[in-house]
């Protein structure tokens, strides 16, 4: 960032439908493997979509005591696991840190909706005296940040952001600002989501937001393809360890990328529809470029929001064109959601992690299920097959219901 102290990413932690841990996640992405399938977590009778992207082999007791597993919602389990992976990946030893200088900023789009459903049913069936004393601490979105701070003894800035599908990008951007501004030296930042239950999924069904390609669930998420018909709801968590450059250097931390740009804007237009021509998203990308002191020509790859909804992909394409001009047609753009579905409040974090891996490995992951070009989506979406390319700078977009936009720019250190 032009203003303030330099901030680098030193640790990555991810749990995604295509794998637990960064290596499996990235391997799935570069090999173009779809992780979407038919819903198994709950009954979909009467719902128009039966496709989701679930994490099926996660054992929270690997990361939390049996007692804490019982006292926390699945979105906190996922957040804790991703945070511990990221801490380990960064080689961060909390015993060697000043706890007051380490903060946590983990958000969630929806929070503990499964807990709400279970306890609501109990209240209806058995009366209010049977509501669990853990209902409130389990459902509140900020408990991911709270639980991680307890486990790490991180006593610095601690709160949560909830901006729907832009949550994790805002969390990482704002955490970067806290370090840049001197309020912390280390931040554990990202997002977590576990809303795959009948109510959460049914709510998106009611909006007609989800793909109904139920007979070919692995092909349901097809961003920028003419046949796209909605997103595929996923679950997961992505956490990064952010550190002030000098702090990371002093302890010999692995500097995996630098956060050089962050933009946050509002559409101020509609609850769920993007503003015409993707104006809000375009302004967000411009703001991020300005904060980085960069031009569109400096960006080597765009990790799109790319949800696979008819409107998002068209308007995000327009927004990229508005900001990038002629460069829009030559910069590679791809969508992680084509393979892992839409992780809502965790999406921006797993996508910036994909961006870090792109810089590290020299491979751009593809947008899969791209079969029929849409005349209104005419950019280079890296269709179906990964591409080798030396990428030094990645721009990542996240756009949330409510008209919340967030753009992050990372750069090789």
């Amino acid at each position: 960032m032009k203003n303030g102290r330099r901030v680098v990413i030193t640790g990555l932690g991810v749990l995604a439908p295509n794998g637990i841990g960064v290596d499996r996640f990235w391997d799935g992405l570069v090999n173009g493997r779809s992780a979407t399938g038919t819903v198994t977590a709950f009954k979909t009778d009467g719902m128009n979509s039966t496709v989701d992207a679930e994490i099926k082999d996660f054992d929270p007791t690997q990361w939390l005591s049996v007692k804490d597993v019982r006292r926390t919602d699945r979105f906190v389990h996922l957040a804790v696991a991703a945070a511990m992976m990221a801490v380990q990946n960064a080689g961060l030893d909390m015993n060697a840190e000043d706890p007051n200088r380490v903060g946590v900023l983990i958000g969630s789009g929806i929070g503990g909706i499964q807990t709400i459903c279970v306890e609501h049913a109990r209240m209806i069936e058995q009366g209010p005296r049977r509501i669990s004393p853990f209902l409130i601490p389990m459902l509140i979105i900020n408990m991911a940040s709270g639980q991680v701070s307890i486990m790490l003894n991180a006593k610095g800035p601690n709160f949560s952001i909830a901006t729907a599908c832009a949550t994790a990008s805002h969390s990482i951007g704002e955490a970067t600002g806290l370090i840049a501004g001197g309020e912390a030296d280390v931040m554990v930042a990202g997002g977590s989501e576990a809303a795959l239950n009948a109510l959460g999924f049914g709510g998106f069904c009611a909006m007609k937001a989800l793909s109904t390609r139920n007979d070919a669930p692995e092909k349901a998420s097809r961003p920028f393809d003419l046949g796209r018909d909605g997103f595929v709801m996923g679950e997961g968590a992505g956490i990064v360890i952010l550190e002030e450059y000098g702090h990371a250097k002093k302890r010999g931390a692995p500097m995996q990328a630098e956060i050089v740009g962050y933009g946050a804007t509002a559409d101020a237009y509609h609850m769920t529809a993007p503003s015409p021509c993707g104006e809000g998203g375009a302004r967000c990308m411009l703001t991020a470029l300005q904060s980085a002191g960069m031009n569109p020509e400096d960006i080597g790859y765009i990790n799109a929001h790319g949800t696979s909804t008819p409107l998002n992909d068209k308007l995000e394409t327009e927004a990229i064109k508005a900001v990038f001009g002629e460069r829009a047609y030559t910069v590679p753009v791809s969508s992680t959601k084509s393979m892992v579905g839409h992780l809502l409040g965790a999406a921006g974090a797993v996508e910036i992690i994909a961006g870090v891996k792109t810089i590290q490995t020299g491979v751009i992951h593809p947008t899969i299920n791209y079969e029929t070009p849409d005349p209104e989506c005419d950019l280079d979406y890296v269709p179906n097959t990964a591409r080798e390319a030396k990428v030094d700078t990645v721009l990542s977009n996240s756009l949330g219901f409510g008209g919340h936009n967030a753009t992050l720019i990372i750069k090789r250190v």
Binding site: K67, R129, S132, P133
Partner: protein, 78 residues
Amino acid sequence: MAVEDKVRDIIVKLLGVNPEEITSDAKFQEDLGADSLDAAQLAMEFEQEFNIDIPEEDANQLTTVSQAVEYLTKRTAG
């Protein structure tokens, strides 16, 4: 199942402790790691398991395993 066995099962389930740790004079909060929320849930589970209502002033007195077993035995007798 005897009252004591049921109580022990609930404690194991809620507090995640090993059955060997549950001695009869073990205190829920000091010895078995319960906090105030766990204590509230313990009372609720006792109510459910034994199909009784436990007034709050009674629940506040149940601080050890043996106190809970004695109280529940008395409440469910006859």
